[in-house]
Amino acid sequence: MKVIFEKLYDSYHQDLFQFIFYMVKNKQVAEDLVQEVYIKVLKSLDTFKGDSSEKTWIFSIARHTTIDYFRSQKRKRNRIAEFFDWHEKGELLQDQNHLPDEIAIKNEEITQIYNHLDKCTVDQKSVLILRYLHSFSIQETADILGFSLSKVKTTQHRALKALRKLLTENEEKRGDA
């Protein structure tokens, strides 16, 4: 098992970690989730059909793992929200407070993009990260997300439009100020 793990680690680890991190924006959570991805992959290696490339297969498992995580978080938040109506604010606070060093040292535009990513839908965020941070082709992105090519294109278009709008709004606010 260790040999397989090492092969997976050497080939994909940092990419996987980065994808998950940008999706969940929490290093600790990303660490846990990437472990979960390894376990799922190791357990289901024999079911890997080879229809897609190994890399897109592993990334699709990573994407499912993060979506599962979001669902569990949502359930938790909903339970808390029954008592306190602060969940939206809580999310924002968490994002601001956990700005990682890698982002913090970058310019303001990068920080803005980083924050705005959360205002996109999960699908939009996934497409943006896969396409531009990981340079997957449209076909590969479609394989990972289980989308058609045109759905990837539409989602990508709407995501960029949304980001542009958010950046412009911010620009205008600053300009007004």
Partner: protein, 404 residues
């Protein structure tokens, strides 16, 4: 003011400039975590499964009960119904034989009332002890062995029923362990530490006797030795026993002399009597060998003789008178002297049962295949239906598994 973000290119470039984020942990550390996590998952699955066991087994028990209860209830009803029928039948037959009222002896009464209170007791058994083996199923084999009475006068054959899956030869080699001499009040097995090999091509048994084996001088021992071997291997079709000793010497068989092989004797005409060392010991039917020219009528009459010094007792009570008819080939016909012979109240049901079995075995030793009893006055004793000819038993003194 015109926005800097008026085309996607700008945003895409920003996205591409997003910093690389790395996992700072060591590869081995991650591997360790993964393997412990996988182990924990396995154990938690196991725990879940063991947690399920009591639930599943309870469910299984309920399911089995649901299946069994209706079957048991049906059987019980069937049994009760049969009981009623047989009682009616008994009443019918006794009234048709001209008797006024039903005269049953105390034991039969007791047995019947016992049956009523214990519906699970078999209809026929009436708790009679059977000393012969009447049938086996297709999946079983018979193993013959023998012990002798405490005084070493007579050989006592015993029988084991074993599943066909068990190898006959190996069972013969361990049969010694199932013979409970002391418990049964008999002398021990003669062939302690001897081993048997079956040679089917030459049709003989090779018997390896322990070093220094010899029989005490005295005719009885030699006869029992010979009788025991014959009783054990006759029915398997072997013709002789070949002795094998460590240095190929002949075996000292006392009276018989020094021999290297011994032919297997055909069954000897015998009177079957009852052997019981004391009241608390097991009962055996014991064949008392007769001279070849002895008539069967004499053999049967001999069964009325007790030999108390040898703990050997009659199997036919003195009161029973009978005529023997040997004219119907391999079927022996025994007609009781008086109509009410088997209804005689001073003779217990067990005694009657043993008498039937001893007569059947004696008839078998004379080569008969079946016995028809006439003028019995009753239709059934134990498992034996007296209205029809009864087949001679397969073997004598079956040792039940629980006795082993």
């Amino acid at each position: 003011m015109k926005s800097r973000y008026n085309n996607d290119k700008q945003v895409i470039n920003l996205l591409k400039d997003m910093p690389k984020v790395k996992d700072s942990r060591d590869k081995n550390e991650i591997f360790q975590r993964i393997s412990t996590q996988m182990k924990n998952e396995k154990t938690s699955i196991k725990q879940k499964k063991t947690y399920l066991i009591p639930i599943l087994s309870s469910a299984l028990v309920v399911a089995i009960m649901l299946v069994i209860i209706p079957v048991v209830l049906n059987n019980e009803m069937f049994q009760r119904h049969e009981e009623k029928l047989s009682l009616n039948k008994a009443a019918d037959s006794s009234s048709s034989s001209g008797e006024s009222g039903i005269k049953m002896n105390e034991q039969e009464d007791a047995a019947l009332s016992n049956d009523k209170s214990n519906p699970e007791l078999s209809l026929f058994s009436k708790s009679s002890e059977n000393l012969v083996l009447t049938e086996i199923d297709a999946q079983s084999d018979i193993v013959h062995a023998a012990v002798s009475d405490q005084q070493g006068q007579y050989m006592i054959p015993v029988t084991f029923v074993i599943p066909k899956t068990e190898e006959l030869e190996s069972y013969y080699n361990k049969v010694e362990t199932y013979l409970k001499a002391e418990e049964w009040g008999v002398s021990g097995y003669l062939f302690k530490d001897a081993t048997f090999k079956f040679d089917y091509t030459n049709n003989h048994v090779i018997m390896n006797l322990p070093k220094g084996f010899s029989l005490n001088h005295g005719s009885a021992n030699a006869t029992i030795f010979e009788d025991t071997l014959s009783a054990m291997f006759r029915h398997l079709g072997f013709k002789k026993v070949v002795f094998e000793t460590d240095n190929n010497q002949a075996v000292d068989l006392g009276q018989i002399g020094n021999i290297s092989e011994l032919p297997i004797k055909p069954a000897q005409k015998s009177s079957y009597k009852l052997y019981q060392a004391s009241d608390d010991k097991r009962k055996f039917l014991i064949p008392i060998p007769l001279k070849e020219q002895t008539e069967i009528e004499a053999a049967l009459n001999g069964m009325k003789q007790n030999e108390e010094t040898f703990s050997i007792f009659q199997t036919i009570p003195n009161k029973i008178g009978f005529n023997v008819d040997e004219s119907s080939g391999d079927q022996l016909s025994i007609t009781f002297a008086e109509d009410n012979s088997l209804k005689e109240t001073s003779i217990t049901l067990q005694e009657k049962n043993t008498m039937i079995e001893a007569i059947l075995m004696t008839a078998k030793s004379y080569g008969y295949n079946s016995v028809k009893f006439n003028n019995t006055g009753i239709d059934q004793i134990g498992i034996y239906n007296l209205t029809e000819a009864i087949k001679v038993p397969l073997a004598v003194n079956p040792i039940k598994n629980e006795e082993k």
